[in-house]
């Protein structure tokens, strides 16, 4: 297993462990950093119960004395905690440091550090302690450490020593569960380690002193730092999940650095040895994440080797620098680009935005081309690295996510958008930094930011354009291009360059019209409209078709799952959605496939007809024979051939064709031989269809169970459909069977087109145009008892369940072989889906489909045909006579009554299952308007869902009672 040999030598892995110190506040004199005598080492007090399994034994590792040439003593104690009593923990070499920055008499003991020589092979046993409690304690410690260091800042002196030391213990414990450490050797034993150094602070906390200092380190220090690094790299491993603000990540250790900054007496060496964190720590909680500089200036942050001239890779979040040996370890698999493992999930340092996706030579050397390309791609495109919208202020108003998306996806976006404050003139599209002249003309009429302020560009010319006082440069430009600016006029400048004086109707001229203007603008470095700036009409359509980057797509995509029992019309609705919202609903290839599908369907229908014809012919012949026999008894036993002719008989040529067709159908390879067949048999089909025998059979089609209802639609068009140059119309496609169900699953992305003229009235509407919906249609087949793949749809926003109303008198054979009403089978599927754990708490929209068929059928067949609807007794008695007259509008038709009844049935069922409200929509699958209405209804429900969160709880409860009472 060479590749995974986790040899320490490879990475110079260092391990450090510490144990939580949560005993009583230390009562004895804290870190007596007098030269240590072994006997006098403070024994660590009770080990915290929380984080360690009960089986732990706590071997104490004797500290080693590291004499300091400068007379400083480091006193440290290491306490290892073997995790498993059954196995021996034997760190074979543990290096401890004594640190004593004994300038001041204040000393504190930090229980926080442990070092293990990287070269030693250590066999640790794992404890069975769960990570969980560590995470918690870690969070706790970090936040407390934050407070603590705040206090320090203020006082400059550390007094609550005991308190702090405890926290440090916490944090260091949490470090032990690091992927790194495990990667190395799977260690979970903890070493408690106390470090003592004095605490005194200066206010110059924030400065990163380490950068300005050059000093060599002796090896001892190196080791201690290495240890810190490993500690640190681990410590924030769990931060991304725990969404703490980056400020909280400040480990308490950074005061150690601060202290050193203050005392100039402290040598560099000391500074570096103690300095653990280079958190730029300011009290206004700036959101910057800084790495922990422990090494000398310019060395790698992980191994502390090298100098500032050696090549390094930089973390785009915290600015940590790693040498080529360490970078892969420190950055892991780089799911968000070049970030330390601990920085994953954090926003990047804005000053490094320009470097996103620009690869260094070092990575290229370490990794192959493909890998580098992937890293750079994700670095540029991943969600966490995108510009945070609140960093961009437009007209003194921070942007929201949607506004930023609008800004970035508009036809003419501001390029290389950096965080900052901007002004934006919505009328003309002028764009500039706050307090400065315009820098660019972007797409006008974008709904971003607040209203423009008069002093946006800090002008003092008393001349206004669109309510903004313009700068001197702009005024100069206006003058040079011949605009009358006397008398401090207020102009309206439109996006097409036309301008007029405020309060006047007539256009004074076109600003960009003259060639000279552009030259002047170039001279004064003012923006001119780009060639691409179009009128806003074109822009609207652009939004729909523009390809959006992945990260945006995921944010704005809403998924709708469309399910329904076989034959409930899900595919019709799906196709309808495609036709409704897609400019090109079906590609040429798709159309070709659909055409073939329709044609082979028609052959199939013909086959069924022919089969029926044979049966009818036989029946007829038997009848004839009977009649014959009754009339004359043939002595020879041979009936005359002439008598075989019935109206169902066909000529020999057609007979051959029909036999062939039936044979291919039975063998089940109609589809494989099919395309060639069309060309050959098209004329024959025409002949066949016109044959009186077929027509006679067709007239008895209601007796052919196999023939679906849509067959008549196509059979009547059989001749046109079966031509080779046939182009299916949208209606043909809607009617066609099996076009979408070739695959088990089909999905279509769409967005609702804006209702064109009044689109810009409502601000919310504009955001909607960005929202994309994905309609996913799954086949009911396979939605069995143990359906394993339904859980894949846990991220859908809503389930649309489709029921064919006209199914109430239909029966089919279910899985157990018994004949069941189709409506009841629909209900069973509905119950199954609603009860499925994946769709817990999800909204359901019930589509009652095929209302047109239903209306027609209900007049003929009573609804009580279906057992479930046995108590349907419409109060139609007195109205019924009236309904014949067709004139009374206020009495609902039987169809409506029945559909409402069915809707209520389903609603009751749903609320008995979930206690929530079922949304219902009545749809005629073949009519685009009703499908459109249903899908828009779905959109409203989704929107309401989002907004519901904004309502207070009480309001919501009122709402919900309303719902339940209304049912």
């Amino acid at each position: 297993m060479p590749p995974f040999e986790t040899s320490d030598a490879d990475y110079g892995a260092e391990f450090s462990f510490a144990v939580e110190y949560s005993g009583p506040p230390v009562t004895y004199d804290l870190p007596c950093a007098v030269p240590i005598k072994v006997e006098r080492i403070p024994v660590a007090a009770a080990v915290a119960q929380v984080s360690l399994s009960d089986k732990l034994s706590l071997p104490v590792v004797q500290p080693l004395l590291a004499p300091d040439p400068r007379g400083k003593k480091f006193s440290k104690e290491l306490k290892t905690l073997g995790s498993d009593s059954s196995t021996l923990v034997s760190p074979t070499s543990v290096i401890a440091f004594d640190r004593n920055n004994g300038r001041d008499c204040k000393e504190l003991e930090l229980v926080s550090e442990a070092t293990v020589s990287p070269t030693s092979v250590i066999a640790f046993e794992e404890g069975n302690t769960s990570n969980r409690c560590y995470f918690r304690s870690d969070e706790l410690s970090s936040s407390r450490a934050l407070e603590f260091s705040n206090g320090q800042y203020a006082s400059g002196e550390l007094c609550d020593v005991a308190n702090s030391s405890r926290e440090f213990g916490f944090s260091s414990i949490s470090h032990e569960h690091s992927p790194e450490l495990l990667g190395g050797a799977g260690i979970s034993s903890t070493i408690e380690f106390s470090d003592s150094f004095d605490k005194s602070l200066t206010s110059s906390l924030a400065s990163r002193v380490s950068c300005s200092q050059k000093e060599s380190l002796d090896t001892n220090n190196d080791l201690s730092q290495a240890d810190w690094v490993s500690n640190e790299s681990v410590s924030s491993f769990d931060y991304p999940s725990s969404q703490v603000s980056s400020m909280k990540v400040v480990d308490g250790n950074n005061e150690s650095k601060c202290e050193l900054i203050r005392t100039p007496v402290v040598t560099f060496r000391d500074f570096e040895s103690v300095d653990a964190f280079d958190e730029e720590y300011t009290q206004d909680a700036s959101e910057k994440r800084m790495p922990q500089v422990k090494g000398k200036k310019g060395s790698c942050y992980r191994c502390f080797m090298g100098n500032r001239f050696s090549e390094k890779e930089v973390c785009i979040v915290c600015d940590a620098k790693y040498c080529s040996n360490c970078v892969l370890r420190a950055m892991g698999s780089m799911p968000e680009g070049r970030k330390c493992v601990t920085c994953i999930g954090f926003p990047i340092d804005e000053s490094k935005r320009g470097n996103l996706g620009k690869c260094s030579r070092m990575l290229k050397r370490l990794l192959n081309d493909l890998e580098v390309r992937q890293i750079m791609r994700t670095e540029k495109l991943c969600d966490a690295n995108q510009l945070p919208p609140e960093y961009i202020c437009v007209n003194a108003q921070p942007l929201s996510h949607e506004e930023l998306i609008i800004l970035q996806t508009c036809a003419n976006p501001p390029e290389k958008l950096k965080p900052g404050k901007y002004w934006y003139d919505k009328v003309s599209g002028l764009w500039g930094k706050e307090g400065q002249k315009p820098s660019k003309i972007i797409s006008p009429h974008l709904n971003v930011g607040g209203p423009i302020k008069p002093d946006a560009s800090n002008g003092n010319t008393q001349v206004f354009i669109n309510g903004r006082e313009i700068t001197k440069v702009e005024l100069r430009m206006l003058q040079l291009s011949g605009v009358q600016c006397a008398g401090n006029p207020h102009f309206w400048l439109h996006d097409d360059g036309s301008y007029q004086e405020e309060g006047q109707k007539n256009t004074r001229g076109y600003l960009w019209g003259k060639a000279g203007t552009k030259l002047v603008c170039a001279l004064l470095s003012l923006p001119v409209p780009s060639k691409f700036s179009n009128s806003c009409g074109e822009q609207g359509s652009n939004i729909v078709n523009r390809t959006v980057p992945d990260y945006l797509q995921q944010r704005i995509l809403q998924k709708l799952l469309l399910v329904g029992y076989n034959g409930s019309g899900t595919s019709t609705i799906f196709k309808q959605a495609k036709i409704l919202y897609n400019e090109v609903p079906f590609s040429a290839e798709e159309r070709e496939n659909i055409k073939l599908k329709i044609q082979s369907n028609v052959y199939g229908y013909l086959g069924i007809l022919l089969e029926g014809r044979e049966i009818f012919e036989e029946e007829e012949l038997i009848d004839l024979k009977k009649k014959h026999c009754s009339r004359i008894i043939d002595p020879s036993g041979n009936t005359g051939n002439n008598d075989d002719k019935t109206i169902y008989s066909v000529g020999p040529r057609l007979k051959v064709f029909s036999d062939w067709l039936l044979k291919t159908m039975v063998s089940g390879n109609l589809e494989t031989i099919f395309p060639a067949a069309t060309r050959e048999y098209a004329p024959l089909v025409e002949e066949l269809w016109n044959d009186p025998a077929i027509q006679a059979t067709y007239n008895r089609r209601s007796e052919l169970e196999m023939l679906p209802t849509v067959a008549s639609y196509f059979l009547e068009r059989a001749i046109t459909v079966l031509r080779t140059d046939y182009e299916p119309s949208n209606l043909d496609i809607l009617n066609a069977e099996g076009v979408t169900s070739l695959n088990g699953l089909a999905c279509v992305d769409f967005s609702f087109p804006q209702s064109a003229p009044d689109a810009d009235i409502d601000a919310a509407d504009q955001h909607d145009s960005l929202l994309r919906y994905q309609l996913i249609r799954v086949h009911a087949r396979g939605l069995g008892e143990n359906c394993k793949w339904l859980e894949m749809f846990e991220d859908v926003g809503m389930v649309i369940f489709c029921v064919a109303l006209s199914d109430y008198d239909q029966f089919s054979v279910d899985g157990n072989g018994s004949i069941t009403n189709k409506m009841v089978q629909s209900r069973q599927l509905f119950e199954f889906i609603v009860n499925h754990s994946t769709f817990d708490q999800m909204d359901f929209l019930l589509i009652l489909n095929k209302f047109d068929l239903f209306e027609e059928k209900i007049e003929r067949v009573p609804l009580t045909q279906c057992d479930w609807f046995h108590d349907f007794h419409p109060v139609l008695g007195r109205h019924h006579s009236n309904s014949n007259s067709n004139s009374i509008n206020n009495s609902p038709s039987l169809g409506h009554l029945a559909s409402h009844y069915i809707a209520v049935k389903f609603k009751r069922l749903y609320s008995s299952l979930t206690g929530r409200k079922l949304y219902v929509s009545l749809v005629k699958g073949l009519e685009p308007d009703t499908v459109d209405a249903a899908l828009k209804y779905a959109r409203e429900i989704l929107k309401w869902d989002e907004e519901r969160a904004n309502f207070s709880l009480s309001e919501y409860s009122i709402y919900s009672t309303e719902v339940s009472s209304s049912q």
Partner: protein
């Protein structure tokens, strides 16, 4: 013959089959005097013992944003392909833990993925009922996506599992929700043979997993929702060579034993079982006694190179390492530090047996390797 008559005869025939099956089961039980563990104990074999550091997580592959559903190693180099619900296939370099390819799929609901024997292309399948082949060497299109090089369509249900025939770059076996398995010719994109289905004897429910015999690539097993596993010969498509009963739940995963004479199964009933393909007997049940009623399902299994260890991922996030001889759990990866936070959905052993990769619903993959100085077993 009337329809009613036919139906009666069908019912009678079904009853006969069931009765015979029951008799077969009884007979097998009476013949089964011991299982592997019983025999091993009687020979006083001792269980493998594992220190907690012997198997450690040495890499975490982060990059997916959805549940990981499937993974596969290359036979040669240390590369892994993984399929996730974020609609991507990612090809990883297991040594550097970097991605080499991220393939955006036309259908996001992917369930399975596989590396070709040469490592040049990957296959995947899912709810779109299509098995898609991507050639890793083909140039990217203008959006930076890898174009699909072949679509194997023909299944009438989701593609639940796919595996390349060892050493044959153009042959692939898929299993599907339409109750069948199919052997494909990738160059033509056509089916070579169809195993099971309506008119043939085979599975009677969704097929969830296939595994091809490593030593005799003509044989493969499939596990299905009908709680059975079937052994197939690719030359005889019409019927299964043998059907293995025993499980009481859906068979989620099947895997051939390294010697090719046995195979293991993992099921919704919470057990793993070992079957012998020559006798048709069940050799051993691997079942962890659980107090609570909620039995975790076995989602995926893998054997170590020697076959002594069986790695099994469970739906509750556990991953047991079984000693196949003594049927004892030697280690639970789910309780180690750094383990996955959600269900382990797939696992696989690298070709040389040096590392185990697990994929989980927490969107990460982890590579586990032997951390101690033990020889590979």
């Amino acid at each position: 013959m009337s329809v009613a008559e036919l139906k009666d005869r069908h019912v009678a025939a079904t009853e006969t089959v069931n009765a015979l099956r029951e008799r077969l089961k009884q007979k097998r039980l009476s013949l089964l005097d011991t299982d592997v563990a019983g025999y091993a104990i009687s020979k006083s074999r001792t269980s493998v013992s594992f220190g907690p550091t012997d198997l450690v997580c040495c890499r975490t592959l982060q990059g997916h944003t959805g549940k990981v559903y499937s993974l596969d190693w290359t036979p040669e180099k240390n590369r892994i392909v993984s399929a996730s619900q974020d609609g991507r296939l990612i090809v990883w370099n297991a040594l550097t833990s970097q991605k080499t390819h991220a393939i955006k799929l036309p259908c996001a609901w992917v369930m399975t993925c596989a590396f070709s024997p040469s490592g040049q292309s990957v296959a995947c399948g899912g709810l779109d009922s299509v098995c898609s082949i991507f050639n890793l060497n083909s140039p990217m299109d203008k959006d930076g996506n890898l174009p699909m090089s072949k679509m194997l369509s023909g299944h009438k249900g989701y593609v639940s599992s796919c595996q390349y025939v060892p050493d044959e770059e153009t042959r692939l076996i898929t299993s599907s929700g339409d109750h069948t398995c199919v052997l494909w010719d990738i160059t033509t994109g056509l089916r070579i043979s169809l195993f099971g289905g309506e008119f043939q004897s085979g599975h009677t429910a969704d097929v969830l997993s296939v595994s091809i015999n490593g030593s005799n690539s003509r044989m493969f097993v499939s596990g299905s929702c009908d709680a059975t596993a079937c052994l197939w010969d690719t030359r005889v498509a019409s019927r299964a060579v043998r059907t293995f009963h025993g499980h009481e739940g859906d068979v989620n995963t099947v895997k051939f034993f390294p010697d090719g004479n046995r195979f293991g199964t993992g099921s919704d009933d919470g057990t793993c079982r070992l079957f012998d393909i020559r006798t048709g007997h069940q050799l051993q049940v691997y079942h962890q006694q659980n107090n609570d009623n909620d039995v975790p399902h076995v989602t995926s299994i893998a054997f170590s190179i020697s076959g002594r260890l069986l790695f099994a991922g469970y739906s509750n996030g556990d991953c047991y390492v079984w000693d196949t001889l003594l049927a004892t759990v030697v280690l639970n990866l789910g309780s180690l530090q750094n383990s996955h936070e959600a269900r382990i959905s797939c696992l696989g052993l690298s070709a040389d047996g040096s590392a185990l990769c697990t994929g989980s619903w927490d969107a990460n993959l982890k590579i586990w390797a032997f951390g101690g100085h033990r020889t590979v077993i």
